[in-house]
Structure formats: C-alpha cells, structure tokens
Symmetry: D2
C-alpha cells in the first residue's frame, strides 16, 4: 500500500521535505503496542456488530498480532513516507491479510485513533507512576523508621529554628508524595475515558458498540461528546501538572540532600556507588543524583508549558498542532519514572551522621523559643517573653555560649521567674518531646504518623 490514505483528491505527490517534516513516526512508534491493542479491540467490536464477518475479524486480529510481534522483534522498518504508527501498522497488516486490511479503519478515523493510543499509553504509565510513588513512600517511611531517634535542627530561612526528628523531616516528604499519588489517581480517572467512536469529529454512521470496545480495553467511561473526544488534551495537561508538582518536591528534597552533603553541613554521606567523582579534583565526591534530579524538574515544567502554549487558542476539533503533544508528554513520563526509581534506590544508601546533626541541634539557640514559653508558663505575656529570650540570646552570643551553658544567675538576670528546672527544659530531646500538637515533632506523634503511613500504603496497594 504505497499510496497515501487520501490520494484521491490530490494531483501532486507530497514533497519529500514535507513528508519528513510532518512525519511523527519517530515519536509515535513507541505507541505501537497500544495502537495494535486498540485496533484489535476495534476489530473485534466490528466483528461483534456484524460490520465485519467473524472470519474477517479473526483474520485481521491474527494479522495485527503478527505485526505486533514483528515490531517487537525489530523486523519492521519505519519510514517517513508512512507518516505515523497507524499507517505503518495498516500497511504491514496488508502484507498479511491483503485488501482486507483496508476494512479495519471502518467506523473510525486517525483522530479518535491517536486519542485512543495516547490514552492507553498514559493510563498504563500513570498506573506505573502511582505504583512507583507508593514504593518511594514505603522507602521514605522505612528511612524514617530506621532513624527514628535522630535529631537535627529544623530550619526556617535556612537558619536553625527548632530541633526536629529526622523522621519528622522525611515524613514531610512522605506527605508531599502522598498528595502526588492522589493527584495522579484523580488524573487517571480523566485519562481513563474511551474516545473511540468519535471518528473524525462527529461520530460514526456505523452501528458500532462502544461499550463492548470499552470493555475489551478496560475503560471505565466513554466520551460523552465526539468533538471533545478528538480535541481534548486536558488529560495530558493535567498529567503534566501533577508531574510538575511532583518534580517540585523532588527539587526540594534534592536541594536538601545536596546542601546536607556539603563539608559545612556534613549531615549525610551518599554511598560511593551512588555518587561520582571529578576528572580533575581527586578529593571530590559529588551528589550527582540529587543534582540531576533537581535539574530535571525544569524539564517537566517546560513540558507542561509546551502543552499549554500548544493548546492555547486552538479551535475545535482536531488540528495538526496536536501531533506535538507527544514529545513533551513522553519526556515527562520518562523523567518522572526515572527520578522516582533512582530515589528509591539511593535513599537506603544514605549514611546519616547522627552526631553531627545532634550537635548542630544543640548550637544556635534553638531552645530560645522554649525559654520564652517557659516564661509564659510562669505568667509573662508572650511578646514580652519573646523579647526577654532575645536579650538572653544576645548576651550568650557575646559570650559565645549557648543558653543552656549559662549559669542560673546569668539566666535569672533576664527574668527572676527562671528557676533551676530550666536546664531540663532546654535539652533537644525535651524540646522535641514537648511539641505534641497534632502533626508536631514529638517522638510519639512521629511514630504514630509512621504507623498511619504504613496503613495507608498497605491500603493503597490493595486497590
């Protein structure tokens, strides 16, 4: 089948440069299995409805399966002349079943076909990403549990603020990735809609049975409007939005791992097998993985912007511009999957320098808030107590001491309300254990959050 599918109306052959420019086969060949699966379902449905005889249907299905194997085995050569994956499959099908191949396209158009392929592809990939995120959350919970008694400074403005549990810190990322999972799940509902039957844009005149095709392909819903079915790319924009937010989370945790790997922080060390060195500086061990992941956040956000720009101002229904939806989509899918995967592998290989963290949490007046709270507990108004603690900090700074290193007399000089029990109050452990508000960093709270997370993961895995 050497001719274009539209040759009848045209008097000139397509220019070679145009074939090259308009061809999408380099990209959409990755969809071959989805294209073939979609065609098999379409064909079976045509058979069931009597639009094809059951012999015809069987022959085509068998032919399509052969084509699938051939592509799998790398036996099919791709060419710009055949423009896209649909034409390649049909062309090859005609080698196996002859002119019968031409009947497969009955009752559909490439407009609903490409929407179908993309949705099948993205449904599969979204499920993979959801599962990968579940695994990542499991890895984070396990990391948190393993380090359940490690204390480090919590930061605001990159300044030491109050001591927190490392487990608490990591569980904040658990929350983020749990929200990501939820967003991908919700996006999945809107991905999981079958466009088949919309044909070019207005529906088809053939007495097809979309419910049957949907059942074969495992779709929960059929598109309610044929023009929407072929022109809608919301499901891609929404997926890319969820992916972008997820990558923002990766950029944040990566930033922290990079900073924590510095000589100045020395909070963690990433195992040799997960770091790389320098071609010129022998002493270097670089946190390349978090750096690369952080950089890849730009890629996915760029992909989202591509889609928005692409779709902006497109009239109904299908426009050829939409062919450009797949490169950014596929790039984002691969990027997100690879980042989740590498984090799942790397996190267990992070060595935590618990003493460095604990020391850091002891220095820098992280107990100043609690000195103020102590005074409030003894009846001083909050803002006044805050000022009083501030002055104590200034004094201690001048002596290069910490608050808990001042004598009781020194402390009393800031307020006579201070008594000897102040020293118990000011230790990191005490500071942490007192923060028992829901969601707070107290040991018990964090460990019950970890238990809750484990139940959540178990439940979600059963879905």
């Amino acid at each position: 089948m050497a001719d274009k599918p539209w040759d009848g109306r045209f008097s000139e052959p397509t220019d070679k440069a145009v074939e090259r420019f308009t061809s999408s086969i380099d990209i959409d060949k990755r969809l071959y299995q989805h294209d073939i699966n979609g065609s098999i379902a379409h064909c079976r449905m045509l058979g069931k409805c009597g639009i094809l005889t059951s012999d015809e249907a069987d022959a085509i299905v068998e032919g399509l399966e052969k084509v699938g194997e051939e592509i799998e085995q790398g036996k099919l050569e791709f060419t710009d002349r055949l423009e896209d994956i649909h034409m390649h499959v049909e062309d090859r099908l005609s080698v196996h079943v002859g002119d019968l191949a031409r009947k497969l396209h009955t009752g559909r158009s490439r407009n609903d076909q490409i929407a179908l392929d993309t949705r099948l592809y993205l449904r599969e990939e979204t499920v993979k990403i959801i599962n990968a995120l579940l695994e990542l959350r499991r890895v984070i919970v396990s990391f948190a549990e393993k380090h359940s008694d490690v204390i480090l400074p919590g930061y605001t403005h990159m300044q030491r603020a109050q001591p927190v549990l490392l487990a608490h810190h990591f569980m904040a990322y658990y929350e983020m990735f749990a929200r990501d999972t939820q967003r991908f799940r919700e996006a999945l509902e809107r991905i999981d809609v079958m466009p088949l039957g919309a044909a070019a844009l207005a529906g088809t005149t053939y007495p097809i049975d979309q419910a049957y095709a949907a059942e074969l392909l495992g779709f929960s819903k059929i598109s309610d409007n044929s023009m929407d079915a072929v022109s809608d790319r919301d499901f891609i924009m929404e997926f890319l939005s969820a992916a972008s937010i997820c990558m923002i989370h990766f950029s944040r945790i990566s930033e922290e791992l990079v900073i924590w790997s510095s000589s100045e922080f020395r909070f963690i060390e990433i195992a040799d097998a997960f770091a790389t060195g320098s071609s010129i500086m022998p002493q270097k061990k670089n946190p390349d993985i978090p750096e690369l992941v952080r950089g890849k956040s730009g890629r996915v956000i760029g992909d989202l912007v591509s889609l928005f720009t692409l779709m902006k101002s497109l009239p109904l229904a299908y426009n050829r511009d939409m062919q450009e939806d797949k490169p950014p989509l596929m790039d984002a899918v691969e990027t997100v999957k690879s980042c989740i995967d590498i984090y799942c592998r790397m996190l267990p290989h992070i060595r935590v320098n618990r003493n460095v963290m604990a020391d850091a949490a002891q220095r820098g007046y992280l107990n100043a808030t609690d000195l103020a709270d102590y005074l409030v507990g003894r009846g001083m108004p909050f803002r006044e107590a805050h000022g009083c603690a501030g002055r104590a900090v200034t004094y201690a700074l001048g002596k290069n001491s910490e608050l808990h290193e001042l004598t009781l007399d020194e402390l009393k000089s800031f307020s006579s309300l201070i008594e000897n029990d102040i020293y118990l109050t000011l230790s990191s452990k005490a500071l942490i254990d007192r923060r028992r508000s829901y969601g707070g960093t107290a040991y018990e709270n964090v460990s019950s959050q970890i238990e809750k997370a484990k139940r959540q993961i178990a439940q979600e895995m059963e879905r």
Copy 2:
C-alpha cells in the same frame, strides 16, 4: 506597639528601604477578614483549653471584631513599618485590649498563620469559582438548547469536515468546563486542610485543641506534619494548574467566537452592548470580550510558572520567598472569576446567523465521507471507497459544484454502486442524524446529552 516582634535580638533598626522591600501589606491586606476569623478561632480555642481565661478570650475576640469593622470601614491606615496584615491586626488589637493583645499569638507563629489565612481565602474563592462554573455550564446548556436545530460545519484543521449541530459544538465546551469544575473540587479537598498548630515548623508545646479550631473554621482535615504544614504550597500550584487548564478552554472558545465574528464567517454577531468600536474606523464592531479573555489565558499560565519557579529548590521549612506566592495566586483568582462572569453575561447576547451556518455546512464536500460510507455499505472496502469519493470531489471541484449537485450519471461514473437514494444520504440533516454512535452529533444523542447535563448540574448544585 511600635517595635518589631523580634526586637530583643537586634541592635540596629530596620532600614526604611528594607521595610518597603520586605513589606507585604499591600497584598495581604486583602486577607484581613480571613486573618481575623483565623485569630478568633485560635483565641476561642486557647480559651477552651484554659491557655487564656475565658474573660481574656472574650475580650480579645471582641477586640478582633472591632478591628475587623474598622478595616471594613477603611479606618485603619496601612504602613510598611508593620510589615504584614498579622502585625496590623495585632497592633490595632492592642489599642482595644492593651497588653492582652500580646497573648493572642501564644501557640502559633506567623508561619502557620499565613498558611491558614491563604487556605481560608483560597477555599472561599475556589467555592465561588466552582459555583460560577456551574452557572457557566447552565448558560452553555441553555444556549445549546435554544439552538438545538442549528447546523454548522464541524472543522478539523480549520477545514470544513462534517456537519454538526451547534448544540453539539457548544456541548463540547460544556464537557471541558465540567472537567474544570471537577478539578477545582478535587483541589478543594487539598486546600481544605488546617495548618494551625504547626507553629513555626515543629508544632507547639501548648496543650492546644486543633480539632476544636478546625471545627470552628469548618476544616475537614488537620495537617499531619507540621513541617509540611508551613512549607507546603502544593494547594496553590494545584489550584493554578486547574485555573490554567480552564483558561486554555476559554482561549479556545474565544478564538472560535472571534473567528466566527469575522466578515468571512459571519456565523455570529455579538450584541452591541457586549462589543466595542474603533476610535478611527467607524464601521468596526470588535469582539473585544473574547479577545481579552483569550489574552488573559497568558496571565494565568504565567502565574502558574511563577509559582513553580518560586518553589523550585526551596528547602524545608518556611522561607521568605514564599511571601511571593500571593500576587500570582490572587491575580489568577480574579482573572478566572472575571472571565467566567463575563462569559455568563455575554453568551446569551450572541446572535446566531443560522442560515449562514447552514449554507456553509452545505458547501465544501462535507458529505464526502458519507459518500464513501455509502459505498462501503454496498460492499466496497473502506480505503477504496475513500479514494473513489476523493475522485468525485476533485471532479465536482472542477465544475465548482457540490457532490449533491452532480447528476446521478456523473456520480455513477465514479462507482456503479451509486443509486438514486444517494441524494437522501447526502443532505446535512441526514448526515447528522446518521451519526448515532455514543457521543455523536445525531439530534437524539445531543438532546439526551443536554438532559444528562441538566441533571448533572442540578445534582452538583445540591452538594
């Protein structure tokens, strides 16, 4: 209260230019009611827990209500010196209740307070947007119903493809805005989470009762992790993603209305009251509203990109960068609301030129597919029928006729399978009525989609 809340530790006063640069009052003053409501709930909760006496709590609540009225009445002057809305409210409160004002901040920080205010604000606005979208969908359905028998060409590649019902075309937008509603609803679940109790980042040592505060403020959920509570801006990114997708839909419908208003299309006319003229060209009537709405899509997408860039690589927990989250958020909220509102007003004032549309649907060989299908129905393989119809089009083009204007002999010259019943087959109405696949443009299908939409709207309005 002339001093900064942190004066104790500082030896130099803040530079005036720094006050100006770091002040957010210009923006966050819009949150004053949410800030006061949040403080009232916090205060009542402190009273319930015995952290404040009930007299203290009552006095503060009364004072806060007074401050609210004063701001409402424009009696409060805003100044960069007091930095943000929180300090303005507390400062003014101290005029009413004296030093007691200083106790309000017990057990919280500006970090959880601003997260609370923003969530209260966005929850309210998201609900408004959901309701506005419901109204827009109602207006679209009503427009579709009013024009239930209007036929126009459906386009692909801006080329006339197949005739469709105008109602069908508009119902495609109904689908888009219905998905938008759904996305905003799902975003709302993640907006509706109370951060209060996280304090600066690690939780608070006071025996607070977050469930009670959540109940007073109507929150369904309390944040599970205090560090996440103060550093999470997912709910903004997600809202802006939903808003951006919604604006893409507006850009598409606007593009169509602009093109349809051209002299070449003349499909519609926008009422004088909803159009504007030219200062120099007396004949002009411009579709300014769709043009402006189309342009505003850029604004919201820009707002989303702002947030992504802002959040990229921020370590935990709170960082001052986050202050910059509100200008893009508020800009997007206002833009989306105004676009929905103006469309609800304008759509009923669009006059449809049904004859122009119907004529257009008759010219341009929109029945060529059906000629092919007719031949398939008589046993010709699809691809062959497609080529045959293509040749008929080329022939008709040469004569400057339409297919249905050719004689039976002329038609037969392309295939002897063609009989006299072909003319019935080729009318716009017949073309439409034959497209009965689910979601197709057939009269009955479209009218049952309209009924379904009305039921959906009614159900959603009851929520």
Copy 3:
C-alpha cells in the same frame, strides 16, 4: 581505560542504575566533532607551550582525528559506563596512543570542556539559523514582489479594517524575521567566548596560552572570569529567548495561513505537495505545515522555561544539574531550523486567490475611515466626522450595501460637505495609495520598502 576518571578516592563501584541515570552520552554524542576539535586545539596549544612535546602533541592530534573518523563511520559503540562524550573520546584515544592519552586532559577539566563543546556547537548552529533566516527573508521579499498589486483587507480584531497590499502584509513578517536575525547575531557575540583555561573553576596552574587556542578555534573573546566561564549558561537562555520570539512569529504567520486556507476565507491555497489529506474525509486538504509549525512554538517556549527553571537558584560554580541544559537546547535548535526550512520551501507554493482577496477588501465598509477623513478634509472635526461616517455605515448596513454603492443624495444626507468626488476617494486602490505616511501601505512606499529589504539582505549576506 575501564576505570572511572576519579577512581582513586572511591571504595565502591558505581551502581549500574546510577550509571544509566547519570550518563549523558545519548545526548552529548552529537557533540563529538566539537569535542574532538576542541581537544585538538587544546592539544596543539599544550604543544606550543611546551607542556606536551611536539611529538606527543602530533601523536594525540593524529589519534583524535582517527577517533573522529571512527565515530563518523559509526564504528564506536557508546556505553553508559563511559558516561559522556569526553570519556568516550579519551578512552578511544588511548587505544590509538596508549597512556599518552591521559596527558590530553592536562590543564583542563570536564567543566570547561563541556562549556567549550556547547559553545562550539551553538556558535555553528546560530550561524546556520542566521543564514536560514536570511534565506527566509529573501523568500518573503520575493513573495511580496510577486504579489505587488494584490489587495486584501487589513484586519484588526479579525474584523476588516482598511485595505492593504498583500506585499505590505508580508513585509510585516519580513520586519519580524529581520529583528530575529539581529537578535541571533547579538546572542552570537555572547556565545562566541572561549571558556577554555577555566579548568574546574579557578583557572589552571599550567602556563597555557589561551589566546592561541582561541585563535585556532576562531573565538573572538576569552572568558574574563573562570568561575563564570564554567557556570554561565546565559548564552543558552539568550539563544532560547531569541528562538522563542522567532517561534511566536511563526505561530502568527501560521495562524494566518491556516485561517486564509479555510473555505470561508479562501484567500490562499497551499499546493498539494505541501498539504496533506484525511484518512476518512476525502474532500479535505489540510494546511498541516502551518499547523505543525504553530504547534512547535510551544516546544521552544517550553525549552526556554526548562532552562530558566534549571538555572534558578544554582550556586556557583559547576553543578551537575547543568547537564540537563542540552536536551532543551538541541530540541530548540532542531525545531527552529526545521521550521525556517519548511517555510522557505512552502511559501513559493502558496497560490494567492487575488480576486477573492480584492472582493473582500471591497466589502465591509473598509472605506469608512476615509469617508471620515474626507469630511475632515472639508473642515469637520475628526471625532464628529467619525460619528457621521458611523451613521452612514449603519444606514448602508440596513440596505445591505457598501458606502460606495450609495447614491450621492443618500451620502449627502449624512453631510452636505460630500460631493461627487467621493466615489474616487472610496475605491480600494485610492484608499491604499493615499496612505503615504512612512511605513504606510501605499504602492510606492511598499515597493521602496521591498528595495530597502533587498539591499539589507545583500549587505547582511556579505558579512
């Protein structure tokens, strides 16, 4: 050379998944020729400075040339184990020259090497793009000249406004692409800076001669600051900005060609060889090329956003994130080049329906402004004349006539200042020929702009 370049300090081998994740060879292998050219120049310079003996230098250069040929001929297998193009080249070089290969890296680092390769690549591509834009401008001028007497309506708000020459309309795009050329030229100045000698970040201790290397590689400037040299990616952001603006221009002209190809406009027809058909609708001829080009604008803008997000908040000097600069850069380079090329090919194959355009320019009251101006010329204040012409339009609309179809009596009813010469005033040609302000659409003006453009192109080609 099976080992990593940093093996000394590491006790564990790199994890395979890490090798895969961190490898950039899939992307940077495209830079092989630039990498080899850079290494040859570096090596010759080392030889000149006595850091290598001249025999050593000759042997390495010869070896590098062999490696270049081997890659050219597809004889080198790429592997994630060797991470990037630099290691592949050096590894292969050691096959030809043994341990001597290890001396090539003296006085440089992969940090300045990759900056060098990227600049060599982008310099070459930017020059190609500048030349391609020159060709495109030539094609536009030639199109304008060929259609120098074709009149069409000029539009504002997609409403017919005033008649203009098609040549004038296209020369507006000439202006845009001329500005693009200029922007790429200016970007080129900042691309054309040699980073070699910066080594890892601080410069090198070897007595190298950067001026000599720059001369060999044709650079006009050497980087003034070694830390900037390895961490600067401005030249990429700037290139992508210029590319994005250029693609906006393509999206605009493409939008017009798509609209003009519609049945409603019928202003142009794109030759069969440059259009494609539909797999289902035999009558369709789709303007795929402008559609695809319009869609590709999203791609390049997405690439720019990727880079901005990537670079945001990166501390000095080199960070591994930067490896992610190349996929968006290369994507944009290829996209821009292919769009320019296909437009150069397609434009001459656009058939202009001059009569359709001319008719359109006669209908829709495009002469209303000139009726107003006529009245101003007879002493009426402008705003009053505008109102008067507006009323005449309303009257003519009611009669379904044009202004020039009204009788003199009818016209006089709007102002007694109107005389018989009004009819000469109101023809399209007269309207056009009267717009003689500089840059206006009058015949003579447009033709002198065409001449000016031809001189400009000739001059720029000589550079």
Copy 4:
C-alpha cells in the same frame, strides 16, 4: 464628551459589566505622562504640517499640559466608562479647549498611540535599569576590592573544590550583570522605534511629518511597516527575556547569600538593618532580602511566559488581547528595579567572616588537584597523578587529617616523586597564586580584572 468614540455605528449602550471588564484605565493610567508627551509631539507635528493651525496647536498643547498637571495633582477621577488613558486625556482636554480637542486625534489611532506610549514608558524604564545595573556593578567591584585578600573555598556540586578569592567569586557576578546591561542596551535599540503614523494599521492619509515627531520625542528610528508597528510586541518579549535572565542571576547570588548566612557556613552576616527576625523564635536573624529576591525571580519569568502565551497565534494587526501586555510588563519593570536597588543598598552591609572562610578553604582536600599537578610537573601522566592524589586523600580522610598535615614520609608512600617543597605548594595562597591562566583566580589576575571593570563602568557611564 460623554459618548464612546465609536458611537455612530452602535445602537445599544455598552453593558456596565463590559465597561468594567474591558477597561484598562487601572493599569494604563500610569502611562499618563507618556500619553500626554506623545500627544504634544503629535499635535506640534500636525501644527508644523498645517493640518492644525498654529493657534489650534498651541491651544491644544497648552491644554494637554494642564491635563498633565491635573493628573499629577490627583485632580482627575478615573472611570471605567472612559476605558483608557487616551480617552481620559482627550475627555479632560475638551474641558479646557472645547471641540478643538476632537482634532487632536487626526492622523492617528489608538493602535499606534498605545504602541507609542508603551515604547516611551519602556524606553525610560530600560534606561533607568541600565543605570541601576551600572551602579550595582560598581557596588560589586567595590565589594570585591574591599575584600581583595579574602580566601574562601570555590565549590562545584556544593563540594569544596579549590580555594578562590572572594573577589574572584563576586567578579563572576559582575560578569553576569555586565552581560545583562549589554542585553538591555541591545533591547533598547529595538524599543527606541517610533510607531506613530501607522494609525490603525495601514498608515494615514494626512501629510504628516514623522521625522519631526520622532525628533521631538527623541526616537532614533521610525517603524518601516505600519502593520508591524501596531502589532509588534517583540520589544516587550525581548525586554522580559533580558529581565528574566537578570533575575536568574539574582536568584543565584541570593541562594549563595542565604546558604552563607547559615550557622553551618557562617561565611557572612547581613547587618541587622538589612535582616529581619522571627515573631516566635528569639534567636533568629533571617536573610529575608536575598530570600525575597530569589522568590521574585519566579514573578518575572512568569511575566515572560504570560507574554509568550498572549502573543502566540495572534493574527495581524492589532488585537484586543494585546491590552494584557502591560500588567506583566509593568510588574517585571518594578520587580527588577526594586531588586537591583535593594542589592545596591544591602551589599555594603554584609560582614564577611574572613577567618571562617579561610579555615574552610584549608579543610576538605582542596589542594588535592595541586598535589596531582605537582606530580605531573615531575613527569607523571595526568590521569595517573589524579589517581595517586585520590589515594592520598582517602588515606588522610582515614586519619581525619588534611594533605598538608601528613608527614613527608606518609606523602612519599603515595609517590617517591614527592619532596619537601610540597608543603609550600599546598597552602591556600600558593594554590590561588598559581592559577594564572587568563580569567583565573590568582591575585594579580583578579586585581587586573577589577581595574578593567572600573574602566568599563566609567566608559559606560559616559555614554
């Protein structure tokens, strides 16, 4: 003048909601002075050409000046009814000069008028930004000079790499801001083009003298094509691109200042007057300014994306969408100016902890490269020397020593080529002073770069 400028053709009054939605006065009122200046020049030109009498011209100019003063003094009330700044000015003018006001608009349209106003505004602001950047560069150079002997670790991958001079590090930012200046200068050339005379889109029929108007307004160039003149927004996109790149630089330096302010780095302290505290944690001193500046980078990049999305696919010539160009433009202008200003103020108030920096540069094996180079200098091939130094680092790590703390015997165990002079080689100062390649960090190099920068600034200030 209560009527709309286009009332003649319209039979219905504009809906109030439409007036509100389409009004731009809230934004473009900021352009009042540019609008009036543009009108004065236009009016003088009309007078010179005899289109207005000289008495008329004088009266209008005087009237316009009065309107300018009235707005300056806040005497004019702005109203959505009068839509934009042009109508407000003309309406007010008619109070002063009566019907004569209606003649001012002769030979122009709001399309070229708003292009003119925007260009006048942006030209002025771009010049301000260029001058502000010059000042910032001066401040950076002065900071570098003041700290000319301060040594700190240079980082790659946030790992200590090699010691560099703090002056060298800051001069890297000098280079970035110098490139920014250059980009704004080049953008300025394309901003500085007068669109007046293009009228609505096709030029004007009046015998105007654009060269005279350009001279009065100080424009270097007049637009060559009237359609381009009214539809071009390249100059805004280009300005925003330059602004975005500039903000990326600010995000990078801000990131460093934030990290350097942490307790772990303690490299710098920002003066109290340029920092803020915490409402809850008394010990905190937060680097708010760099944080906010870093966050504001998102804003400007978002503004750029807004413009790209806005302009994508807009046909020629003017479209109402373009009204949305001003909010992002003005937001970016104000943001960039405020960031430059606050950095100029803050930088001199940064206290450098030189000892902390120097100590850091001594620890972490920053001299490992030089140990390798030392071995190369004694004849060992580079890659082998790199491995040898790597093993020495591993050994020293095990002993918790630095390389320069090992005994000669220990060192010799890695290579017998090592002699006693190694200790001189390994000091920070020696490391720095040996990096004399052009652009390297050696003392002399940096100080000559500082001198070069001072000459550059002086020259640029004279322009």
